[in-house]
Each structure stands twice: as structure tokens, then as C-alpha cells.
């Protein structure tokens, strides 16, 4: 494989496209709403006399998941979006091309949900067929890998990524360039690249969508990272709950190997790279990097103390670079447009864009990619349409079970790593859950604590025992059996667990409690019962 062949494949693919292209989203969300049947109907309708001008393709996520199945008709004049398409209405989309009536509800590509987005990670999602490498190549895929291998040294690649200001998108926000530089400096012949696709935060599905819709992008990002740090073997650790993403990744790897874009001497350069998929088995803690490494090694997912950090000793004790799916997905664009371009988007300390999964009590649910610095209100009310049926936002939860909530009066906070931390929450992986005024914040705390309690690996006492006790205390509060002393105990315990747990799961499990106590303390207090001595004849 060389640049000429690559560009030839791209050109052939572009020229093979027909004047009218009908894109049908078959990513997991729409697929579960019947998109496969819709695609079949579209195929049949087109085969009935339109196949010379019109083509139908399966594409990945078109982001407006709450309104799926989504179909877009692209012509020279522009694109028309249809939403909530059913097999009955699908055929009319094709007959509309000749002026016939269409019964599928019309969507709007200019809807605020789309209008304020800035797709970088999702630039190909919903536009290309994720099961065809040719379509990825046709939009410039693997060209950045070529340029890196042929025209840049590993150090230059690292410095470009550092210049971009990209920070880890898994939630930690650690400067990516710095991490790459650290691994690159490590001595040793064998280094590993790991992609953390164990998106365990309930309510987050950004990584799932990227892997289903643009798997080659992640593979190319990993290959570039491997070149930059001196690794030759990569693992993608992906949760078993994502079968479609796993299937698309497996296909993508096969296709890349077939075209010699993965394997040995890629593009004829002195660079070998291969990727293996490791499927998880339902353990949230395996999203923590040391637990993930243990799982890759076939063991129980118990974290271990750091240092040594994975950059120094990770998989099989070798220097390992671990990054999140979204972090790798930013890499091809950064190398293409330049680190300075990326740094021009976003805020002072949080560069680029972030993909959020906007769900919960919100009108427009789906994936939103916006520049850092966009306010939460903009996302939830303008793009998300606010709470349905005229309800009011009570709080927006970010960061999953490791995060906290942002009360309504603070929604004008810009989304960036540091401002969210000041509020007592965190960016997290991108799950953003809208809660309306019917939600009990104490119940939400207990819900999250139940989750952490179940997912605790059991290795360290603060987390193992602490989550159990905090859960019990929250239950006592909700049963109206708790006193002021119990509330104080809860708060004290939360801080102890936060400070003394071995890994991120334990350290952040108390966050929902601490966050809701900070902004919704009266709600907790209203559930307390009076201490016994005050109840004698109702007198003190």
C-alpha cells in the first residue's frame, strides 16, 4: 500500500457515488427502533426503477437519537432529513424524489440541536458506511498516518499533539501530549497502546457511537499514537454490552489488514502495528486503567496502587499508553489541520470540542459535540429543548457515578474541565443527564451509591465497606429514620472514602453525595426525623 494506491481508492470511491444518496442510520439506537427494516424498504423502493440515480447506504450515528430512525436524502441541492421513519413510510421517501407525497416526518438539519454543534470527532459519523474502509479512505482516511510515517518524526507528532492542548477525554483530563511524551521517553523495545472503550458510565454512549460509526478513525488514531511512542501492539478493551461496536471493529481490523494499513512495514515504513480486541465482561471498575490492564492480562479487575503509572509499567509490565476512544478519535483531525487549529477552539485550559450524550428528562436526546466553553444552559435548553411538556430543569448531572450535579441556577457555567471541577462535579466521559423537578436528589444519590457498591472490586476497605455503609445511611434517610447525627456521619464518611480509597472508583463514589449535599442540603434535612428526646409529648 502506498499513497498513490490510497488516493486511487479514494477517487474510485468518490466517483462511484450516484447523484442521489440516501443515508439510513443503523447504529445501535436506531437499529433498536427498527432501522434495519426501514433500510430494507428503502432498498426495495430504490430497486424499483431508481437504481441508476439513487443509492441507499447504511451509515452510523446521525446524533439525534431520540428522534430515530433517521434517514437523510442528499442531493446536489442539499440534504433533507426525515425522522422517526417506519417501514411503512420509508417507501414514500423514495417516491418524494419524483414529487410524490411523503408520509415520513420531516426533520430539520438546521434545528438548534444540530446548528450549534461542531463535529470533529463525529465529522464522519452518519456520513460514511462504517463497514466499508473505502468510504473512510474517500474522506481522507489513513492519509494522516501516511504523512506521519513518511514526513514526521515521532517527536514531531508528539509535539503537534501537545500544541493542540488535547486533554484526555475519558474524564481525567490529563494532557494527552504529555502522556505520549512520557511513554515515548521510556526505555524498552516492547510498548503497548491501549484504547479504553469500557464506557461504563450509565448514561454515556459517545464512545459506542464513535466505534460503531467511524471505527477506522480510532484505529488510525491508535496507529499514529503507536508510531509516536514506539509501540507496535495495541489492545482495544471494549465492554461486552456493545456487540455492534465489537462487530464493526472486528470488520475494520480485517479490512485494514487486507489493505496492508495494519500489520508489518505499513506504507513501506519501518513501522509495524497490530490491534487485538479484548472484550470486557461487565465490570465498571475495569474502566480504571490499572484494573483494565489486569483484565487484559486475563485476571480479576483489581486496581493496584500507582506509581508505577502505566506509562512506566503497564500491560505485562511494559510501558503502556492508555487513552480513551474519543481522545484517539481527535488525533487524525489534529494532524490534518494542525495543533494550533485545535487550540483555537475551546477555552484557555480546555481546547477543542467534547462529545456529550444528552439524555434524561430532555426533549432532544442524543449526541452533541460542542466547543469547550459552551454553557450548560445552551446545551440543555437551546439545543436540548429543555424538559418536555413544559417542565423545569432541577439539575444536570455530569460525570456519571463519579461526578456531581449542576443546579438550575448555575447552568450558565461554561463546560470545561476546570470550571466544572470548581462546581464540585467533573466533565467525566461526557454523560449529561437532565433531571426535572420531580426528581429526588437523595434518591439519585442512593441510585449512584447502589451502583458503586455493586461495582466495587472489594480490594480496599474504604470502598468495600464505605459504599455499603453510605448506601445504608442513604436508605435510612429515605426511610425517614435518620437523625442529624446520621447526616453528619454520612458526610464524614463520604470524605473519608474519597480521601483513602485505592482507586478512582472509591475516590469518586462519594461525589454525588457531596455534590447534592452542597446544593440540595434542605432536601436531605427535610427527610430527617427529630431525635428521640425531642419527641416526648411533642415537647423539648
Amino acid at each position: 500500500m502506498d499513497l498513490q494506491t490510497l488516493q486511487h481508492i479514494a477517487q474510485t470511491e468518490r466517483e462511484s457515488h450516484k447523484p442521489v444518496r440516501i443515508r439510513c442510520c443503523t447504529a445501535a439506537g436506531c437499529a433498536s427502533s427498527g432501522a434495519e427494516a426501514v433500510k430494507k424498504e428503502l432498498d426495495q423502493a430504490v430497486a424499483n426503477g431508481h437504481s441508476d440515480r439513487v443509492e441507499v447506504c447504511s451509515v452510523g450515528c446521525m446524533r439525534f437519537c431520540g428522534r430515530g430512525p433517521l434517514v437523510s436524502v442528499d442531493q446536489a441541492e442539499g440534504s433533507t432529513l426525515y425522522e422517526q421513519v417506519t417501514p411503512d413510510t420509508a417507501g414514500t421517501i423514495v417516491s418524494a424524489l419524483e414529487g410524490g407525497p411523503v408520509t415520513a416526518p420531516l426533520g430539520d438539519w438546521n434545528h438548534p440541536f444540530f446548528a450549534y454543534q461542531r463535529p470533529i470527532v463525529l465529522e464522519n459519523s452518519g456520513n460514511i458506511n462504517p463497514e466499508r474502509i473505502e468510504e473512510y479512505i474517500a474522506v481522507g482516511g489513513y492519509e494522516q498516518l501516511y504523512h506521519c510515517l513518511m514526513e514526521r518524526t515521532p517527536e514531531e507528532v508528539v509535539s503537534e499533539v501537545t500544541r493542540s492542548g488535547l486533554r484526555g477525554r475519558g474524564g481525567g483530563g490529563y494532557p494527552t501530549g504529555l502522556k505520549w511524551a512520557t511513554v515515548a521517553k521510556m526505555p524498552g523495545d516492547q510498548k503497548y497502546i491501549v484504547c479504553n472503550a469500557d464506557e461504563g458510565d450509565p448514561g454515556a454512549f459517545m464512545d459506542r457511537s464513535v466505534l460503531e460509526s467511524d471505527p477506522h478513525r480510532v484505529l488510525e488514531g491508535m496507529a499514529i499514537a503507536a508510531y509516536a511512542v514506539g509501540a507496535s501492539h495495541g489492545y482495544i478493551y471494549i465492554r461486552a454490552e456493545y456487540p455492534l461496536a465489537i462487530a464493526h471493529l472486528q470488520k475494520a481490523i480485517q479490512q485494514a489488514k487486507r489493505l496492508e494499513l495494519m500489520g508489518s512495514q505499513i506504507f513501506g515504513a519501518n513501522f509495524d502495528f497490530k490491534v487485538d480486541i479484548r472484550v470486557g465482561a461487565g465490570a465498571f471498575v475495569c474502566g480504571e486503567e490499572t484494573a483494565l490492564i489486569a483484565s487484559v492480562e486475563g485476571k480479576r479487575g483489581n486496581p493496584r496502587p500507582r506509581p508505577p503509572y502505566p506509562a512506566q509499567a503497564g500491560v505485562w509490565g511494559c510501558p503502556t499508553l492508555i487513552n480513551n476512544v474519543e481522545t484517539y478519535a481527535n488525533i487524525p483531525a489534529i494532524l490534518r489541520e494542525g495543533g494550533d487549529w485545535y487550540a483555537s477552539i475551546g477555552t484557555e485550559n480546555s481546547k477543542g470540542t467534547k462529545v456529550f450524550a444528552l439524555t434524561g428528562q430532555v426533549e432532544n436526546a442524543g449526541l452533541i459535540e460542542v466547543p469547550m466553553g459552551t454553557t450548560v444552559r445552551q446545551i440543555v435548553e437551546v439545543m436540548g429543548g429543555g424538559v418536555p411538556k413544559g417542565g423545569k430543569v432541577k439539575a444536570v448531572q455530569t460525570g456519571g457515578p463519579s461526578g456531581g450535579c449542576i443546579p438550575e441556577h448555575l447552568l450558565d457555567t461554561p463546560v470545561d474541565y476546570d470550571s466544572l471541577r470548581t462546581l464540585g462535579t467533573m466533565m467525566g466521559s461526557g454523560g449529561m443527564i437532565v433531571m426535572d423537578t420531580t426528581t429526588s436528589m437523595v434518591e439519585i444519590s442512593r441510585f449512584y451509591m447502589d451502583f458503586c457498591r455493586e461495582e466495587s472490586c472489594g480490594k480496599c476497605i474504604p470502598c468495600r465497606a464505605g459504599t455499603v455503609q453510605m448506601y445504608a445511611l442513604l436508605g435510612k434517610i429515605l426511610d425517614r429514620q435518620a437523625t442529624v447525627a446520621d447526616l453528619e456521619k454520612l458526610e464524614f464518611l463520604a470524605n473519608v472514602v474519597k480521601d483513602t480509597s485505592l482507586c478512582g472508583l472509591g475516590m469518586s463514589a462519594p461525589n454525588p453525595i457531596l455534590s447534592t449535599l452542597r446544593y440540595f442540603r434542605p432536601e436531605y434535612e427535610s427527610l430527617l426525623r427529630e431525635p428521640a428526646y425531642l419527641e416526648v409529648n411533642g415537647k423539648h
Binding site: 458510565d201 487484559v296 434524561g360 443527564i433
Partner: protein
């Protein structure tokens, strides 16, 4: 520094005395993965798929094949939520209890299903027909609340639609 272990190529697990073909399939998987100890989780996935659940017999077979102590295999099998050491029902109904689904009423769905089937989450009905389980987010948050009926994800569910689906079984 530890390195991936490879079993010597002269060792291969004897086929299971029961002659059960599923064990042969397991052999094929272990061989494809070169009997490496670190492929334990992959092998357990394959075993669960072939047998429906991981009974002691199967765990012992895997332990022998990968040359690992049974305690190690048992430890891994019991750590991960997806591995089941008990038989599943004929049909499985997995209610997603992720935050988005929870906020949109998954809790009520679970309550109603538990009452209807007379089981608690994680249990199988007495006639062995239906296993009611929960998942901690399957990533279908855009169509919350989501339920997985026998591997097929159904979105925007409510207690009634879930019950209808179960009645159809």
C-alpha cells in the same frame, strides 16, 4: 518482568469423557487463542455462549486447558457480572438501570415486572421460562428506557409494553 505465558505445544486437553460436542468447540477456541493464560476471559465468554452458564465441570475443563489453578478460573468467573454460574431461564429480560433509563422510569418497570413474574431481579421464574435481570447501561440512552428481550434491544419502554412483550413468550 512477567510476559505472556504460552503452554507448551505438546499439551492439549483430553476431550471430555461425556463426549459433549460443546467441549470440542471450547477446545477449538482455546487452541485458537494458543492456550494462553491471559485469554481466560475470552475463553469464559465462549464457554458461557456454548453452555449457557459456567458450571463447575466447565470451569475445571477450562482450568486444565489453560493450565491454570481452578481457584484462579473461579475467581475470574465470579468477578465479572456477565458470567453466570447458574442456569438461565429459557428467555432473558434485561432491564437497563442506567441513569437515563432510571430517570425515565426504569425503576417502576422493574417493580411491575417483579410483581408480575413473582421473582426479584437476578432470579429466574419457577418454571424456568424467564430470567429477569438488570444491566447497568447498555448505551441506548437516546431511546430510554431500554429493555433487552433475548438479546434484542427495545427502546422507549413502559411497564405495559414490557408486560406485553413477556406475555408473548
Amino acid at each position: 518482568m512477567p510476559s505472556p505465558t504460552t503452554a507448551p505445544s505438546t499439551v492439549s486437553p483430553a476431550s471430555h469423557p461425556s463426549g459433549d460436542k460443546r467441549f470440542k468447540r471450547l477446545d477449538v477456541t482455546m487452541k485458537r487463542l494458543q492456550y494462553k493464560a491471559d485469554s481466560l476471559i475470552e475463553v469464559l465468554h465462549a464457554a458461557q455462549e456454548a453452555f449457557g452458564f459456567l458450571e463447575l465441570d466447565v470451569l475445571q475443563y477450562v482450568a486444565r486447558g489453560l493450565q491454570l489453578p481452578l481457584s484462579r478460573v473461579y475467581g475470574v468467573a465470579t468477578f465479572y457480572h456477565l458470567f453466570s454460574l447458574k442456569p438461565q431461564g429459557e428467555h432473558t429480560c434485561v432491564v437497563c438501570l442506567g441513569t437515563a433509563c432510571y430517570v425515565k422510569g426504569a425503576g417502576k418497570i422493574v417493580e411491575d415486572l417483579e410483581n408480575e413474574l413473582h421473582v426479584k431481579l437476578g432470579e429466574t421464574t419457577e418454571d424456568g421460562k424467564i430470567s429477569l435481570m438488570s444491566a447497568r447501561c447498555i448505551g441506548a440512552c437516546g431511546i430510554a428506557p431500554a429493555i433487552v428481550f433475548d438479546g434484542d434491544v427495545a427502546g422507549k419502554q413502559d411497564p405495559q409494553s414490557a408486560l406485553d412483550h413477556l406475555k408473548a413468550w
